[in-house]
Symmetry: C2
Subunit: 341 residues, 2 copies
Amino acid sequence: MSELRWDPIKQQWVIIATDRGRRPRDFTVETEDGDMTCCPFCYGNEDKTAHELYAIRPSGAPNTPNWQLRVVPNKFPVLRVEGDLNNRAYGMYDVMNGIGAHEVIIETPDHKRGMADLTVKEIAGVLTAYRVRLLDLRKDIRFRYMVLFKNHGVMAGATLSHSHSQLIAVPLIPPLAAQELKVCREYFEAKERCIYCDMIDFELREGARVVQEFSDYVVITPYASTFPFELRLYPKRHGHDFALLNEAELSGLAVAMKDMLSRLKAILRDPPYNFILHSAPPLQPRPGKPEFWSSIEYDFHWHIELVPRLTQIAGFEWGTGFHINPTAPEDAAAFLKEAAI
Amino acid sequence: MSELRWDPIKQQWVIIATDRGRRPRDFTVETEDGDMTCCPFCYGNEDKTAHELYAIRPSGAPNTPNWQLRVVPNKFPVLRVEGDLNNRAYGMYDVMNGIGAHEVIIETPDHKRGMADLTVKEIAGVLTAYRVRLLDLRKDIRFRYMVLFKNHGVMAGATLSHSHSQLIAVPLIPPLAAQELKVCREYFEAKERCIYCDMIDFELREGARVVQEFSDYVVITPYASTFPFELRLYPKRHGHDFALLNEAELSGLAVAMKDMLSRLKAILRDPPYNFILHSAPPLQPRPGKPEFWSSIEYDFHWHIELVPRLTQIAGFEWGTGFHINPTAPEDAAAFLKEAAI
């Protein structure tokens, strides 16, 4: 069981492995798994993962080969489904049990293809898997937020090179999500408009940071990008919840995703990156606590944030929360626009 | 000139290089400078740095060899001293010029010695240089905060391996510092006690996270450590401002620093790390704006925060602000206590 511990000064929760965690000698440089025979995400190694929660397969039984996509519980989950929260005090600190869920979306059986190499139809399958699993996890009212993200490359924190995304359900709203929801709430309160709709409108008129526009989506480099070549993918029409998209909307999103990932791969030679879905959290009932975000369908605008991992986060950034970006987003957009894809 | 740009949703400032910044082809893996003949921080290469701002040298003229320590302006500053802030609006965003100062403290002429290898007396010299430069930069009332930090190792963001620290003066209070000062302020307001004094008292009584105690200082692993083997060095007596330490206090601190860095080096085989000084900002006069932190000498407790860089920050941490730490701080403290130094 891990613990969630609260730091009263930094005002943040940390997930701490309190069982036998990593020892000093365990922090050696991790190497890539070039060998497909032992990759747990390849065909024929289905017994090396836990039983699948969802799959796309033309035919055949669960947990056998011939699938296009599989979702399985993570073998080394950071949070576990069993138990209760047991929210308690310890001296001046707070602590609760590490309850949650941790799933892996194996995006393709092919060890060598990254997400940018998948077809639009295959990417649409990945997005469908995201939607299915998000909707399923919402049924557990202990989970207040679902973090859906992808680590691509060792430098971005991926421990297996076979293309996959992860979904972690957590028992509280993470600090950056809480802050974003609060800002959106206050903006709507003041103006009766969505802050993201206003921003997208401004960016489309300015143009200098637009990488590519589609009928329903747009990819931009944010004005105050914290990292070089940082990207945001927004739906142009207001919508708070990714999980409410229909088939046609998911197909349109797959086109935009394929385009965005291909440009990045072409210009930066397959860089390591992280992306994360920002979508409205489920509004779970809490004793005596009406949700601050009850108007969330007006306030919030779902989107995808992507950061290539080209620079190290150094002492200045880590200690101040203030980033230094050596590439202006206007320059990054110009390079990405010209990508030969 | 760089720009400081404000993100109205993430509520953060970013320093962006708007001159010719880094192009896609510039993001290649940086290599270590093993060759001492071209290291700008070695003896005989004093002409490869800008003129020194401060030095410790037994004899000889400025900018010649035979020094023990030098402080020079950074050759590639992220912020520049010249110009004015020109705080303005751009659409729904805010922007100001990148005014500041960026200095490098070259801690030793010896290319091969890290800070842990310096003598206590040499470390006291480094701490003296920190104090001298902090006091000098405070005279410029455009600077509202000084970030004093060290990147050790490529993985921690160091671009030169020769041991050095950096000092960046910024025209605003960075977000993490502002949050910390606010929490300290509110705690003092409520209890008339310093939150750090209470925490140090609790940790000394508990003991499980104390790495080493000295007469005036203590090194602990924080209860909600965000990274494995994270460390804090606190003065046991309340004090808000590092720059007010006298010679004897700096000598005591040098002993504690040497001990902390040596334990880390022994247990984790010279890991990459960052440390940062948290000290009270100078209270600069602002038109029409009384300082919120005017009681800072009671509220705040200076200290040093250190994080070894053993794990990559991945999508989950970056996107949620919520960290996963695979080593409990109690285990980390136990290993560090036993270090053979």
